[in-house]
């Protein structure tokens, strides 16, 4: 007699009434392949864990965002926010699509130059610009977005020595009706600080004020906040026209569009709640078109969108190391992806799924990484199928910030693979090795010999 298919025994506690923190009734769909390449093949060829990036999703997402704006306001220019993902291959895809570079440090500036971005198409943001950084940026004609008065004075000193006019904008912070109000970067709008800075720059012959910049925050769920930001920057632009008879060339609205990831503590999944590019584009371009800026001097709209352009294109693949029971009987699943590889797990309830579902039953599960640390929690509470050692998992929407904020800790960082438009895979960053990790260490002579 043929034996029946076996399923593991499962007993689940039934909670009457409200769903508990593990959430009920969500069916988990397995992801067995990414763009027709089996997860299993990825991991056997490149090792586990592994980052995978889809070139197609990057380009499609970029084009969707660009067209949402272009169809409403033709003068639009994106600048790729390097900090979000500065793998060179990723930056080059954005640059091929026409995106400039937005950098916040000398390190990122050098990367952009090495990636072939002309200095005049680099926006240099952030509070940390050394005198050398500023000199190079002035000489290259980059757009320097001034963060504070000390930087303004530095530029006043350095620019004359270069024989060039510094092209500058100021970063403006403001109350855009949202919380938190980011007031630590740039000059404040409401208290007049921004206007004071403008009045120092405008008469200065070594500087040319070309635009105004703001970045009101990140993961902004309310498009109307951008409309407020536009109206405040536009008011400054109009004031500059009145006082100096001068037209600014651009307004830069920064980044901050939400990605479809679910924020920790959110009641509904991000994919249901996050505004579309069209929603943001409508709010921003309506505010621009309705502003008092003269019609034939409308500024270029710069956008430094980060996470919303890249999150969906990234996947993190990994392998189950073990199952354990916690003291309260909850299942814990240990995988080879730790928070050092998935920094964004501190903000997001990342969607994690198995590559196959062997049986329908799920259990309250906590998913841990392999680090020997208590904070290493990928999902604190999720209804999850019963997986076994060696089974594989996929974490979705990890393209933003993880490949820049990753931490090297107790093991080597893994490879990153790109799937190109023809479905071919390319390693775009090698895994670390003993040699690469040790290359920067130096041992003083008296520590060279040890005897045990």
């Amino acid at each position: 007699m043929k034996k029946l298919k076996f399923e593991r025994p499962v007993i689940n506690h039934i909670n009457a009434g409200v769903p508990d923190k593990f959430g009920r009734g969500t069916t988990i769909q397995a992801i067995s392949d990414i763009e027709d390449i089996a997860v299993e093949d990825f991991l056997s060829q490149y090792g586990s864990p592994l980052y995978v990036i889809s070139e197609k999703i990057i380009r499609d997402t970029y084009r969707e965002a660009l067209s949402a704006f272009k169809t409403r306001y033709p003068k639009v220019q994106f600048a790729w926010s390097y900090k979000t993902n500065y793998l060179n291959a990723v930056c080059k895809i954005f640059h091929q699509e026409g995106s400039w570079a937005e950098v916040v440090s000398g390190f990122e500036y050098e990367k952009a130059i090495a990636n072939g971005v002309p200095g005049s198409k680099i926006i240099f943001n952030g509070p940390d610009k050394s005198k050398e950084d500023l000199k190079r940026a002035i000489e290259n004609g980059s757009l320097i977005h001034i963060d504070h008065f000390d930087e303004l004075y530095d530029i006043m000193n350095i620019a004359p020595k270069t024989g060039k006019k510094a092209k500058v904008a100021i970063r403006v912070n403001m109350d855009a009706g949202i919380y938190p109000h980011w007031d630590r970067f740039g000059f404040n709008y409401e208290n007049g600080e921004a206007w004071t800075a403008i009045n120092k720059i405008m008469p200065n012959t070594d500087m040319e004020l070309i635009g105004l910049h703001t970045h009101i925050g990140t993961y902004i769920m309310t498009p109307t906040a951008y409309a407020i930001a536009v109206s405040k920057l536009a008011a400054l632009a109009v004031r500059i026209k009145i006082k100096y008879d001068y037209h600014l060339k651009y307004l830069d609205l920064g980044g901050g569009f939400a990605s479809k990831n679910t924020l920790k503590g959110a009641y509904l999944p991000g994919s249901d709640t996050c505004p579309s590019f069209d929603d943001y584009a409508k709010a921003i371009t309506d505010a621009l078109n309705n502003s008092d800026i003269q019609y034939d001097h409308m500024p270029t709209l710069f956008l430094e969108t980060g996470r919303a352009l890249i999150d969906d294109a990234g996947y993190l693949l990994g392998t189950v190391l073990a199952n354990k029971r916690l003291l309260d009987g909850r299942r814990s699943l240990i995988i080879d992806i730790g928070v050092n590889n998935l920094f964004t797990s501190f903000w997001y309830e990342h969607q994690i799924v198995p590559t196959k579902i062997k049986q329908r039953d799920t259990e309250d599960t906590t998913i841990y990484g392999p680090l020997c640390m208590n904070i290493d929690i990928i999902r604190a509470a999720v209804q999850f199928p019963l997986l076994e050692k060696g089974d594989q998992v996929v974490i979705k929407r990890i393209g933003a910030y993880n490949m820049t904020q990753w931490l090297q800790f107790i093991t080597y960082r893994p490879k990153v693979v790109l799937i190109d438009l023809d479905g071919k895979t390319h390693v775009i960053r090698e895994n670390e090795t003993h040699e690469s990790m040790n290359a920067l260490d130096k041992i003083p002579d008296h520590l060279k010999e040890i005897q045990l």
């Binding site: 029946l4 076996f6 499962v10």
Partner: protein
């Protein structure tokens, strides 16, 4: 190994514990194991009767059974044994 008194399992896999007032849902395999426990079967007998009927290796089954019995203890559904 003995199920606590008065524990009732319905046809469609719901288990009610009158001592605590809690209910649980069981899948088919779990229902079968609980039934065998209530008939007073030993662990070895439970293993044998499952392997006769289902396609499963004994080492894997042993792991799942250990885990399941631990859960029954955890949920206070088994009589405490002094060994």
């Amino acid at each position: 190994m003995k199920l606590k008194k008065n524990i009732a399992v319905s046809e469609n896999g719901f288990l009610f514990d009158p001592h605590s007032g809690e209910s649980y849902s069981l899948n088919k395999t779990a229902q079968l194991i609980v039934k065998l426990i209530s008939e007073g079967k030993t662990e070895v007998e439970i293993m044998n009767s499952i392997m006769k009927k289902y396609d499963v290796e004994s080492s894997a089954l042993q792991r799942y059974l250990d885990d399941f019995i631990m859960m029954l203890h955890q949920m206070n559904l088994l009589e405490k044994e002094d060994n």
